[in-house]
């Protein structure tokens, strides 16, 4: 049986149990399965590759310590996802990042936003451009957008994780999307140029 076949044959739960007993091969298989997801989440939340690597490392070290406490009651991906989000949020708190901060440049008034509205909508959003625009969002907007739109958490879950109301989560998401639209449109080549 090849490593690939073993990887495919074993469930995440089997691998967590083996890892809990110190089996580093099993833990490496878990890493192989989930490291990109963990790293991507970290990267999109902190918008810094070095920080994302450090955080991913900490998440997996923490996972190795805690893996024995995974009982298989939920999907491992959900469990690891929560572990990662909580770790990044803890990192924000340690750094003193104010998640309630909604903008780094002051609010754009709704009227101003209305005036800036483009008349010709983009037919296609370049995913690279979106990734870049997400990294340019203020931390508060970025966190809510990544958790809700990228990672698929519900507003109730986002609100609970961030310690804010559901209304605040919705409001932040709306502002994040509006800001993203601006950033993407600003990054597009002007007509006639």
């Amino acid at each position: 049986m090849t490593v690939k076949e073993i990887n495919n044959a074993k469930s995440d739960y089997d691998l967590t149990q083996a890892s809990a007993n110190g089996d580093m091969v099993a833990f490496e298989l878990l890493y192989e399965r989930h490291h990109r997801r963990v790293y991507s989440l970290c990267l999109r939340m902190v918008a810094n590759a070095t920080e994302a690597e450090d955080l991913s490392q900490e998440v997996f070290v923490q996972l190795f310590r805690k893996v024995g406490s995974f009982r298989g009651e939920s999907a491992f991906t959900t469990w690891l996802h929560r572990l990662t989000v909580n770790h990044v949020l803890m990192h924000f708190r340690k750094k003193g990042v104010r998640l309630e901060k909604t903008t780094d440049e002051g609010e754009i008034s709704e009227m101003q936003d209305f005036i800036q509205a483009v008349t010709e909508r983009p037919r296609f959003i370049d995913r690279i451009a979106l990734d870049k625009a997400i990294s340019d969002l203020p931390p508060g907007y970025r966190t809510v957008f990544v958790l809700h739109d990228v990672e698929g958490f519900e507003h109730e879950e986002v609100a609970a994780m961030l310690g804010v109301s559901v209304g605040t989560s919705k409001s932040q998401l709306h502002k994040a999307r509006m800001r993203l639209r601006d950033l993407i449109n600003k990054g597009k080549p002007q007509r006639g140029s």
Partner: protein, 227 residues
Amino acid sequence: MECRTVRISLSDYVDGQPSLSGGNEMRNIEDHLASCPSCRSLQLELNEIKTAARELPLRTPPRALWTRIVNEIEIEHLVVAAEVQPVSGLWAGLWGRLTSFRFTFSLPQMAGVAALAVVLITVTVLNFRGQNSEMDFTRLQSALIREEMTKKAEIDRKMAAIEERKANWDPAFRADFERQLNRIEESIKQCRKNLEASPNDLNQVQRMLDLYEEKRQLLEDVERLKW
């Protein structure tokens, strides 16, 4: 419905939030979007952003990340092992230094090493002496058992022969013999008691062996008498 009001609710509308799913608000927004190209464009853009966000590709970290994780876990294990077994950690460190010849001693450290060496030598000598004592004790205990077993038959046989002849002895001599025998046997009893209280008392073991010999000698002397 004004553009401003619609725009505030557009994210909820895009997400199909329950608060907008019923009543007139949903219908009012749809009516507005149908008649307002600007708000309609914004709504489509928000939809695109939402859809694109779900389709963002996963990013791959540098390959060295796994090595960093393994190193970190190993370091943690070493720290835990050192906390649980500080002596092993110390010896591991000393062994590492020995094998790599990395020694830098200050004067106080050298004095400390010298003191440690003296203590180690003393403990080793004492321990060796202790081991010798233990060996002596074991040897004497074995000797005691052998002495009892080998002498018992001889003593019993001598005693049986003496008992038959005792009736013909001079009463004063007989009384003297019995007094000496009783003294030896009382001493043996006392010696046994002492050994039960202090099994490692080598003096008592030696005393016991001497008393057996004394008893055997007494019987042998009496046996030589022709009467």
